[in-house]
Symmetry: C2
Subunit: 427 residues, 2 copies
């Protein structure tokens, strides 16, 4: 491939990530900020109101805008004041006829619906760089200041390209469902390496558990690796005790490294706009659960643990799991999907017994004396028997597993799934 192709691909990708209606976003945000600031002041709350996040920095993706308005409280207030503040806000939003929802993630906030936009109103406490946060949201204003000072228009574009690229390959987002790169992390990478392409070139040389990105130079690399013990370590410039890449799983980091290499070798728009292909006829089982409820991160975490346990149990029955994954729709249903070599196992299996010279061998042989088996026979130092499998159908294995683990699910057999397709970003 020639670099001409690369330029053509980047040109098309730039069009995909071009922000639309930037002017409107800015105007509505500023207007809402002024509104909140005045209402807060009227209520006598001591604190500043600030637009932070990707909308305020011009690094959002066109189809996914998050406007974040932070109310940064004086540290004089106790932590519990956050709930009072939320009540105050709800009261004036009600009075002013602005619709909203109260939300709880790690931290409570309000999403207001204002002039066609969703605006998150997030209370937090004012901290200085390096200072320990009181709530999970306290660092965001610092992150915003840090990035704002270091991003020009060219770099904003790079951030948007990188986000879209990461979304295309399935590693964008720090939530448990993805275990990938947060928006803040993508921006730090651009700050560190300078451009979208430079990030990819650097990532192509990353090695899991060996790569440290420490923009402010707080640590020697070995120190940082020892301290954070993550596949990828990116020291947070505003808090040297935090790894901004702590959420990035080995799978996500490895996927990004591989995708970076492959894109540089053979540039394609498919990384930004994945082309899904039909599922192949690989034996597939989907286990469908009611959505477990609770915070999404907790729910996805639990679902992944269940999926791993189910895959292990199915392998213990003798099935070979080719690939597994989780899916579903938050609030509605959760799915564990298993690709298998086969739905059914051979009738006979080799069962390995104890060493032939051990006392356990006698009990082993006794056990199979009256059974319809091949053997028991000795081979080398061990006793073996070829016996009928108790479970040969995957449905029976799953029914047993459901009883063992105390789970309830519906089983769908032979469903199509992206897990059974070609990798959509590789063309």
């Amino acid at each position: 491939m020639t670099s001409g192709d690369l330029n053509a691909v980047l040109e098309e990708a730039r069009r995909l990530v071009e922000p639309k209606g930037e002017e409107a976003v800015r105007e509505v945000s500023e207007e809402f900020k002024r509104y909140i600031a005045s209402r807060i002041e009227e209520a006598g709350v001591r604190g500043e109101v600030a637009l932070v996040g990707s909308a305020a920095r011009g690094t959002w993706l066109p189809d996914k805008i998050d406007i974040d308005l932070f109310i940064i409280l004086s540290r004089d207030y106790p932590k519990e004041f956050i709930n009072n503040l939320l009540s105050i806000i709800r009261k004036f939003l009600d009075k002013d006829n602005i619709s909203y929802e109260l939300r709880y993630a790690e931290h409570p906030y309000i999403t207001a619906h204002y002039k066609g936009f969703d605006i998150d109103i997030v209370p937090c406490f004012k901290i200085a760089p390096g200072e320990a946060p009181i709530t999970a949201a306290d660092r965001s204003p610092l992150h915003h200041q840090y990035l704002l000072a270091r991003l020009d228009d060219e770099r904003r574009l790079s951030v948007r390209l990188l986000k879209r690229f990461m979304r295309g390959i399935g590693v964008y987002g720090a939530e448990v469902r993805v275990e990938g790169f947060s928006g803040y992390l993508t921006e730090l990478l651009v700050v560190r390496y300078g451009s979208f392409l430079d990030v990819l070139k650097a990532a192509a040389r990353w090695r899991p558990y060996k790569t440290v990105i420490d923009i402010e130079g707080y640590y020697k690399p070995q120190e940082a690796l020892k301290k954070f013990k993550s596949p990828l370590v990116v020291v947070d410039p505003v808090d040297k005790n935090r790894n901004a890449a702590a959420a990035v799983s080995l799978t996500s980091m490895s996927t990004f490294i591989l995708a970076a290499k492959m894109f540089l070798r053979r540039p394609s728009l498919s990384y930004f706009e994945p082309r899904r292909t039909p599922a192949l006829a690989v034996p597939t089982i989907a286990l469908v659960f009611p959505w477990p409820g609770g915070a999404p991160d907790a729910a996805w975490g639990r679902l992944k643990r269940i999926a791993r346990a189910l895959a292990n149990k199915v392998e213990e029955c003798g099935f070979k799991v080719l690939r597994w994954g989780v899916g579903g729709e938050e609030g509605r249903e959760a799915r564990v999907v298993l690709l298998l070599e086969s739905y059914e196992l051979p009738q006979w299996e080799l069962h390995v017994g104890p060493p032939a010279a051990s006392d356990a061998a006698e009990a082993f042989v006794e056990k199979y004396l009256g059974e319809e088996v091949v053997g028991p026979f000795v081979e080398g130092g061990r006793v073996y028997v070829v016996r009928r499998r108790k479970i040969t159908r995957v449905e029976d294995c799953l029914a047993k597993t459901a009883r063992d683990l105390g789970l309830r699910f519906d089983i769908a057999i032979g469903v199509g799934t992206d897990l059974a397709s070609k990798t959509p970003w590789l063309t």
Copy 2:
């Protein structure tokens, strides 16, 4: 089970091993010995003629008598004189109209057919105990003298019981086909432990690579284990540099240990008279070769190596080999038998690629870009692909293997074989 059962079983077993026509064997042997001795003397050969082996000691099994007549030459003769001696013997056998065959095993000898018996005429050289032998047969007269002085009628019976027991469980014979206990070794075990039951009681406590039987006390046990490095070490009383159990494989030793324990726990005539049961419907493949020719030990050795290689190749194709073995009929055909989980493999397989961050990962992904595969995908630190198997039928795997190894064989599918049955000596 009560000891009454043990006595009843042993009583029946004794009847099975009762020698028949002992008088006739003795008379014909002695007559033939005198005949050979006089002819040898006439020819001016310096040496003695001696009846050795199980027939001469009364330890043969009723249905398998080997009469061994040794011509023990003076050590003045060069080794090559053996061939002259064989010519001399053939000449007078021809003249006296006694039919015979010239045979070559490790060592050349003549089998004469005389008054309804097969008598082996074996030339060897006279050596003293501990002296290095010139031919493989030289120790036999020493073995005979050693055992004759130590076996009374009760012990002869024990030897016959032990031989029959070992034959029943498939470990009797030092030849490569069996890799088991030689006749001489069974007799040494009775000399060491005193009786058939005492041998079993001792064997029940044997441990492979840890058991040393050194009747004459030549070594400390650790010394003997270090020197001989075999699953079972039985120092030859007439040659302390020889392990009389060198031929015993780990499988044969372990089988004997297990059978000894099981018999003592639950005595049954089935150990002496195994009860074959029909083969179970386990997927079975027999590969049939023309008999390779050469000495039987060499042929069986080669056949076992081929069997192991074939079993490995079939597993490399993805099949699970439950059990394998060799068989056939010397001089006619050789067989390798494989019990398999299935004749056919699933269409899809998981193919594990290199670490995702390695350069090899790029080549791996490139390779599968145009193929109909699931993935390539990253899981943890590695790249994988789910691809179609090239070979799914065992016949195709075997055809490929035949080409790879330069072998020719016929394939028989679904044949019945003892390998697919219950162990016939366990009831």
